[in-house]
């Protein structure tokens, strides 16, 4: 399958469209359902985070999701257009975040979406550039692809 790019306006309702496309791609590449679940969750988290970042920052540009499957596995990236500045929280990957209940001021970033992505993708690369942040996720290829 050659690549697909999805640009979604920053609307929470659009996140499920991105999940749907990711799930369709993962299934078509022959991944087992537990991996498909991981892909669904990772893409949902990454897009939800990006959409909320755009809404918070009043960023009008779309969130861009790029999806490709090849012999090296499945690669999905989610890019927001929120310029990294002093206000942008430094994203810490996984790590020991302590008791989440203590964090709960019911903010949207209460549970770290990026940590969830890191927990379910085989590989996660976070690139913060001047124009925005990209979460690049990969999953290893399945052992035997269906015809």
């Amino acid at each position: 399958m050659r690549p697909v790019r999805l640009s979604i306006a920053a609307d929470p309702a659009n996140v499920r469209v991105a999940r749907l496309v990711a799930v369709a791609l993962a299934r078509s590449r022959g991944y087992a359902e537990p991996v498909v679940d991981d892909v669904r969750l990772a893409v949902g988290e990454a897009c939800g985070r990006a959409v909320l970042t755009h809404l918070d920052g009043g960023v009008d540009a779309p969130v861009v999701v790029e999806l490709a499957g090849d012999d090296e596995g499945l690669a999905i990236s989610v890019t927001d257009a929120d310029p990294a500045d002093g206000d942008t929280p430094v994203i810490t990957l996984q790590g020991d975040s302590g008791d989440p209940a203590d964090l709960a001021a019911e903010g949207i970033y209460l549970v770290d979406a990026v940590a969830v992505v890191g927990g379910v993708a085989d590989h996660l690369d976070v690139r913060q550039g001047p124009d925005g942040t990209t979460l690049a996720m990969r999953w290893a290829p399945v052992e035997s692809l269906p015809d």
Binding site: P12, P34, G44, A104, V111, G119
Partner: protein, 112 residues
Amino acid sequence: MDLSLNARSQGEFEVIEVAGEIDVYTAPRLREALVDLVAKGRHQLVIDVERVEFLDSTGLGVLVGGLKRVRSHNGSLDIVCTQDRLLKIFRITGLTKVFGIFDTVDAAVSSH
């Protein structure tokens, strides 16, 4: 699939059955429902997510927010969940240590 919510009283407990997807789009509706229940003086909550097909960190955030809210009234918020794919995200986020997670509503209720 959208979110559907169904609440019923079982003694002093309020059981909220959730079905569908709890995500960045629907989580606000769950939050409202929890806030309403707490405002009505219901502080012993059991949230049954057996029919939930998708749960993301926004949804988890709402659950943690609900827990905080009922705790400030000496209440409780337990989760009923046996689905591996949902348990996985509770585990990844460390929330298995925060919530009581039970196989059935009765098990949740009788734990108190």
